[in-house]
């Protein structure tokens, strides 16, 4: 499937930067905020010229690929109507300073993307674009083959989805590293060495390889062993 139109849920810092990168790569971009379209129209026009501010229903229905870039705590408010059968990239992270204290979002037994997949049972959820800071995403996007190009990790359950998303990440200016099924997305969450990392592919590979031995990896392993008892 060729991706032509990208829908972005969330007109905040991350959503706007991803819109800018997708526009630069030649995609059609639709952006939906949490409120009425008029509320974000000017923001989209000025910060992401060429993108179109639309409702979430329109963004879902008219896009080939949808990126979730809203606060994670709001995931259950997502308009699911147009998302059946769609490829959905989860770029969200638990950020307690915005999301509030939410134990359901910090459960060590599952990745937050698995929660999102459960909420969108008929969509193909892939975790991507979550671990690099939004200003690094903006600064570091470069064409394929550029020396010291930076890499983004992704996790998902379906091989075809992964192929499409890797090609999309490449178009947006980054190398990519597939780290396994959606459950492995926990390796990209806050608290991991990768979270906030702005590094090349070999460095990213090394970080993922040593995750199990890291304090965060150990903490997760311990929690899972205890839960299994």
């Amino acid at each position: 499937m060729a991706i032509q139109t990208v829908g972005i849920f969330g007109a905040g810092k991350v959503g706007i930067v991803l819109a800018q990168l997708a526009l630069k790569a030649g995609y059609e971009v639709l952006i939906a905020g949490s409120g009425p379209v008029e509320k974000i129209a000017l923001t989209v026009e000025v910060l992401a010229p060429g993108a179109k501010a639309v409702t979430a229903a329109e963004a879902g229905a008219q896009s080939d690929l949808v990126i979730l870039a809203l606060p994670l705590s709001k995931y259950e408010t997502i308009d699911r109507s147009g998302l059946d059968g769609k490829l959905v990239l989860d770029a969200m992270n638990y950020w307690w300073e915005v999301d509030g204290i939410r134990t359901d979002l910090t459960n060590l037994l599952q990745s937050s993307s698995e929660l999102v997949q459960r909420f969108l049972p008929n969509s193909h959820v892939v975790k991507a674009f979550n671990h690099m800071g939004y200003h690094d995403l903006f600064d570091e996007s470069v064409p394929q083959g550029t020396l010291k190009r930076k890499a983004l990790a992704l996790a998902g359950d379906d091989d075809d989805d992964i192929t499409i998303v890797r090609s999309f990440i490449n178009d947006l200016g980054f190398d990519s590293l597939f780290i396994g099924p959606l459950a492995n997305g926990i390796m990209l969450e806050p608290g991991s060495e990768v979270f906030g990392a702005n590094v090349t592919l070999p460095e990213l590979q090394a970080m993922i390889a040593r995750f199990a031995q890291s304090p965060r990896g150990q903490e997760i392993q311990l929690a899972r062993e205890n839960a299994a008892l």
């Binding site: 007109a11 307690w96 509030g100 600064d139 806050p190 979270f195 906030g196």
Partner: protein
């Protein structure tokens, strides 16, 4: 904007510095150190000093306006601001009362910068729900904007108090308390500030500042749409200045890393790498080096973004008090005049 009109200020969160024996100061000593630094900045002609409100163990300033009141009585010309006042977890009426009081004791030099704050320790501390983060700010900024009219008013609150013909004192002598909004990069916050006609200061703490250029246009276009006046935007970024490049870079690396990594632990991001730091001081948002290097980079950022104000954040980490004082001296006597010179060049 005319080079002599560009506001060049300092900003600190009141990090605990080291004393001459290399020991970390107590909170009380750290607060007296900030007062001393502000007096120095005043004597050397810095335009403004702003103090951030934090409720964390590495920062001594939780009540900026109390420190500003102390500074007010020992200074003559420097403007006295908060950077920022976390309005969401405060009472707008009390914020107005406290800052109009600072304005009185300082002969009209007070400025309040309202923000949502990038830290949120204040929410549980003052009994607010983090889940109301956005709604609290939205309602309180609207209430604050009513208070600024300095006339009796009615207010129907949802998350705030309801008021009937409330009259709040002291009134300012100028009739207007200087009020800005601090924004960390959320487009929605820019539009909201424009809606109320407030000037905006951008916290640019990472990446190439040019990224913020469209925000200037967004602010202006939004103000136009709401029929509100526009003001030149300001920016705030971290920095360190010393007599040699090497001394500046090493002091900044050690201490800015310390400060950022400490915050990183609570937010789940990885420690700062040397490569990231070098990127930030070369082409990003940290202004580190000799007075000439810092002045060149500040002038470039001011020109690129077209801002009318630059507040340099000083004191991050556990810098010796003597290094902080030296930085303030170099900033006032060498960086500021050089920035104005560079701005006048074209």
């Amino acid at each position: 904007m005319a080079p002599e009109k560009v506001v060049l200020g300092l900003d600190t969160f009141g990090d605990l510095p080291k004393n001459s024996d290399g020991e970390l100061m107590t909170y009380a000593q750290a607060l007296r150190q900030v007062v001393k630094e502000a007096v120095l900045a005043d004597e050397l002609g810095v335009d403004i000093i702003t103090l951030g409100e934090h409720h964390r163990d590495e920062f001594a300033i939780s009540s900026p306006e109390t420190v500003l009141a102390a500074i007010a009585t020992q200074t003559n010309q420097i403007q006295l601001g908060s950077g920022v006042t976390v309005l969401s977890s405060d009472d707008p009426v009390r914020v107005f009362e406290r800052f109009s009081t600072v304005d009185a004791v300082s002969n009209g030099r007070a400025q309040v910068i309202l923000g949502r704050g990038s830290f949120t320790e204040s929410f549980p501390l003052f009994g607010y729900d983090l889940g109301d983060y956005d709604a609290l700010f939205e309602e309180k900024i609207a209430l604050f904007s009513k208070l600024l009219e300095e006339k009796p008013f009615d207010w129907q609150g949802e998350l705030t108090q309801s008021l009937k013909q409330a009259n709040v004192f002291p009134k300012t002598e100028s009739g207007h308390l200087d009020t800005w909004v601090g924004v960390g990069g959320s487009p929605e916050s820019i539009v909201r500030a424009a809606h109320f006609g407030f000037p905006v200061i951008l916290a640019i703490i990472g990446g190439d500042p040019v990224r913020f250029k469209p925000y200037v246009e967004l602010y202006e276009r939004a103000a136009q749409q709401f029929g509100m006046p526009t003001h030149p935007l300001g920016m705030h970024s971290h920095g360190f200045i010393a007599d040699t490049q090497e001394a500046a870079v090493e002091m900044a690396w050690e201490n800015i890393k310390l400060a950022f990594d400490k915050i990183g632990v609570t937010r789940g991001w990885a420690p700062m790498s040397r490569e990231h730091f070098e990127h930030e001081i070369t082409s990003g948002s940290m202004y580190v080096g000799t007075p000439e290097v810092v002045a060149q980079r500040m002038a470039k950022a001011i020109k690129t973004l077209g801002v009318g104000r630059f507040d340099l954040v000083y004191g991050a980490g556990e810098q010796p008090a003597s290094a902080r004082e030296r930085m303030i001296t170099l900033y006032a006597t060498e960086v500021i005049p050089r920035v104005r010179e560079l701005l006048a060049e074209d």
